[in-house]
């Protein structure tokens, strides 16, 4: 009986605490908690069952709710014996990868929590997968074992400094995503100011030098540099504008685009850069494949991919632009078009793979100055893919090469987002 009451009180604290923490994020769990919290009075009204049965039922429901939390929850009694472990925690303790290190941290905090201290520890695991966890352990007191509601609030209020505790609870929050978002945001701010300020600063300095420069040869050289810097800034601004227009998809015009023509157009846009580097572009595109999409966006995406491949390939190597149609059949006459650009270039380090589609993200800043890219190309590609209801994937090994694949699903799965000019009124 005592055990049930203790468990009940703590589960209630955990469930309500988590629901409050998540406000709106995990409404399902919140609703479930509310449902459980409301149920005992209902049971009372019906007059069914004794207090003991009611407690058991409540404990069972709370257990189910806490079991479905995304937090790992472990509860110990005053002697440090474990009395409860939820689903996520069980998985953590049974894991054989880095997750067991989080489980170990939980165990290590137990003594502190039982001694009446609230403790927390951040555990970063390298994985794979990479993860960042916050482990919090705190003691709880059960004021009255007969009244679960009061016990719950006592546990919540009886924070630090409690001389005698009735047990302790540990909770683990997975902060991996949050960490990632923070990093992306911080890097973005740093990178954009770098990309925009560097050329502006350079132009300013060059102009200052020109003012007092009597030698026409030097003036010419400085002016050439100024033009180069403004060109660079111009390209960045152009790409930014293109990116935002693609992002909003305001002037997208969806039409049928022939794939082979698309590839030719993208190559045209690159001009003589590949030829100058002695890079051969092989085309492996079946004739007659038609994509439904915005021609300008698709050309831009493809040109960016090929441009990237050219920049990061050694002189004299080969790039393959290939296309395959997957899953074309009865119910899906068009199939999903996989448009790939493969190079034998320097490749992308594994840790950067999932970040290269971020705006202004640079794997190697020194190199990017030389190649003269704006750092927005792959962000544009990703947005174009998203606008077409598709995706862009990358596989890469350093020193071997990279394959970027644009996945374009058939037209009926295109998102309703962009105004569909050509198919007006056709509800699909």
């Amino acid at each position: 009986m005592t055990g049930v009451a203790v468990l009940l009180g703590v589960l209630l604290v955990v469930a309500v605490g988590a629901a409050w923490y998540w406000r709106g994020v995990a409404t399902a769990a919140g609703t479930a908690v509310a449902a459980v919290a409301e149920s005992p009075p209902a049971g009372d009204a019906e007059g069914a069952g004794s207090d003991g049965e009611r407690d058991d039922l409540l404990a069972e429901r709370l257990r189910a709710v806490v079991d479905h939390l995304q937090w790992a929850v472990v509860i110990w009694d005053a002697e440090g014996q474990e009395i409860y472990r939820n689903r996520v925690a069980r998985a953590m303790f049974e894991a054989r990868d880095s997750q067991v290190l989080v489980a170990a941290a939980i165990e290590e905090l137990r003594a502190d929590a039982l001694a009446g201290r609230s403790v927390r520890r951040e555990v970063d695991v390298f994985g794979p997968p990479v993860g960042s966890f916050l482990v919090v352990a705190r003691p709880f007191r059960v004021r009255s074992l007969d009244d679960p509601a009061a016990a719950g609030s006592a546990g919540a209020a009886g924070g630090a400094g409690a001389a005698q505790v009735d047990g302790a609870v540990a909770m683990v929050e997975d902060r991996t995503l949050q960490r990632r978002i923070e990093t992306v945001r911080r890097d973005f701010v740093a990178n954009i100011s770098h990309e925009l300020k560097t050329p502006i600063g350079a132009v300013g300095l060059l102009a200052e030098t020109v003012i007092d420069e009597p030698d026409p040869a030097v003036v010419e050289r400085l002016a050439t540099r100024m033009i180069a810097e403004t060109d660079r800034l111009g390209r960045t601004v152009d790409d930014l504008l293109e990116l935002s227009s693609i992002e909003f998809g305001d002037d997208a015009e969806f039409e049928d685009v022939e794939l082979a023509a698309l590839v030719a157009e993208a190559e045209d846009r690159l001009g003589s850069a590949p030829a100058q580097a002695g890079i051969e572009i092989r085309r492996d595109v079946p004739a007659g494949v038609v994509i439904h999409g915005d021609r300008r966006q698709l050309v831009s995406a493809l040109a960016n991919l090929v441009d990237n491949a050219v920049k990061y390939s050694a002189d004299g190597s080969e790039i393959t632009v290939g296309a395959t149609v997957a899953g074309a059949g009865e119910d899906d006459p068009e199939g999903t078009v996989l448009l790939s650009v493969a190079d034998a270039g320097i490749g992308v380090p594994r840790r950067d793979l999932d970040r290269i589609f971020e705006r202004f993200y640079r794997v190697d800043r020194a190199r990017s100055r030389r190649t003269g890219g704006t750092g927005l190309g792959l962000a544009i590609v990703r947005h174009v893919a998203a606008n077409h209801g598709g995706d862009v994937r990358v596989e890469s090994t350093e020193g071997v090469g990279s394959v970027f694949t644009l996945v374009l699903p058939p037209r009926h799965s295109a998102p309703p987002g962009p105004p569909d000019g050509s198919d007006g009124g056709d509800e699909r």
Partner: protein, 258 residues
Amino acid sequence: MDEMRIEFHEEMEALRSDVIRLGAMVCETVGRGTAALLDRDLHAAQLLIDGDDVIDDFCLGLEERCCQLLALQAPIAGDLRFILTTLRLLSELERSGDLMVNVCKASRRIYDIEFGPQLRGLIEHMGEEAAFLVRTAIDSYVDADTSLAAALDDIDDRLDELQTAYVQAIFTSHSVDNLNLQAAVQLAMIGRYYERIGDHAVNIGERVQYMVTGWLPDHPGATRPAAPITPSPGSDGDALGPGTDSGPDSGPAPGEAS
């Protein structure tokens, strides 16, 4: 008496899960060390070097517990082999951790050297393979899976091939990109460290086979001439072996050295 047995088995379970934890720590070290090397992150390298003390300490604690079990419970047959295997496992894992410390120390010596994408790719691959081998070795131990344990030797071939390609790439880099000799030697040693981690995993696999079946697999190949561990002589076989048959042949296999 029964109660003591229960306690004994609980302690063995606890030992098993702590070995999992140790394995996870070592895998983590392999990943972190490789990243520190590739990112030329001196701070991360130092953290890892300092963190190795934790692994060593943890190993010592586990070893102590193994010894206590041996002394107090006098286990026999499967239980005895489990504890003996665990003791061996500890040193293999601890050594693997040390090898990553070596990698980090080498990375400090070449932190100002720019090495090409091909070398980087191969290092990354070797790191992944090494971590995979350690994890698989632990899996085979926890599940007492002899076929997985036996497969470790073949899986290790991939790492060996990578290492060969890697050494070749260092030669190329040395002659083409003017990679200096000092850096080339450090890089070659790094390759060797990864390769050794794989060998330790293979050793664990052999020990796991012993744990389950009671006899030690033959030591093939010239890489391990004259088996470092002599198979148990016949008198001990009664306590260690699963039955009367303690092994295929006692005594080291002749003619394998060279």
